[in-house]
């Protein structure tokens, strides 16, 4: 089973990479794209077997502990089959 963890830079923090990509897009004629933010898409292949709640709890712990840094990042877990 594959579960995705989206790790985003906190809104308050400047994202120079997003800004640079946005300028490049403008340059290529994509004016409608107002802003770009670039985060990480961490996809985990998880052994079946646990129920949904337990799996979510485990991924949440992994996200808090390692996959994201609370000082600068937020994370969101995307369970298969659910609208983000």
């Amino acid at each position: 089973m594959r579960v995705a963890v989206k790790v985003r830079l906190k809104r308050s923090i400047l994202d120079p990479q997003g800004k640079t990509v946005q300028q490049a897009l403008q340059h290529l004629g994509f004016e409608q794209i107002r802003e770009v933010r670039i985060g990480k898409l961490i996809e985990l292949e998880i052994e079946e077997g646990q129920n949904r709640a337990e799996t979510l709890r485990m991924i949440e712990e992994a996200s808090r502990k390692l996959l994201s840094n609370p000082v600068m990042e937020d994370f969101e877990i995307e369970y298969p089959g659910e609208t983000p």
Binding site: L9, I13, L14, P16, Q17, L66, L67, N69, V71, M72
Partner: protein, 225 residues
Amino acid sequence: MKSAVIVFPGSNCDHDMLRALTLMGHRAEFVWHKTGNLSGYDLAALPGGFSYGDYLRAGAIARFSAIMKAVADFAAKGKPVLGVCNGFQVLTEAGLLPGALLRNQNLRFICRPVYLRAENLRTRFTQAIPPGTALKIPIAHGEGRFHIDPQGLKQLQDREQIVFRYANARGETDPGANPNGSLDHIAGIINREGNVLGMMPHPERAMEAILGSEDGRRIFESLVA
């Protein structure tokens, strides 16, 4: 002074740190990240490099090494801990220092000498620095943009925990002298207790005139004084 240079897989400034400490009269030894103790040492140094390839985030994985528990206890006992570049990143990831080091604003790795202004000369890492001088010390990093939330910044300022700021050759801070967009030009900070220093510039690369500067010695001299 007996110093431990902690070696993570991917630390590549470990030999440089060992040589700098030895040059200043320390008895310095490597301590492998898998061992769990720092007993018998007077200083713990976390050197620069790319621990675990800086994968995910610089220092994100190294902070879970066995040695980091010992580093936390060592710091709690008030013993001096020096984190340089990757070492500083590991200390913030481990929560031993506040804030975080983000990607440089120009999105590129930067390697060149910078000038530092010593903001607090009363710490055990800066007491040998003559006042009003700018230290010429090289930087070499891709993620050196210091960040902290507004309250955190206020605390750092109020408690004089900001130890080094990027400056020009005359020791004045100005935007042109800030290489990576660091908040408030911060290049190095200490914890509240004043025994843990994290700095992005590499003092161990500024120990001999033949390498371009000897200003790095001031920090090691402060430790011994």
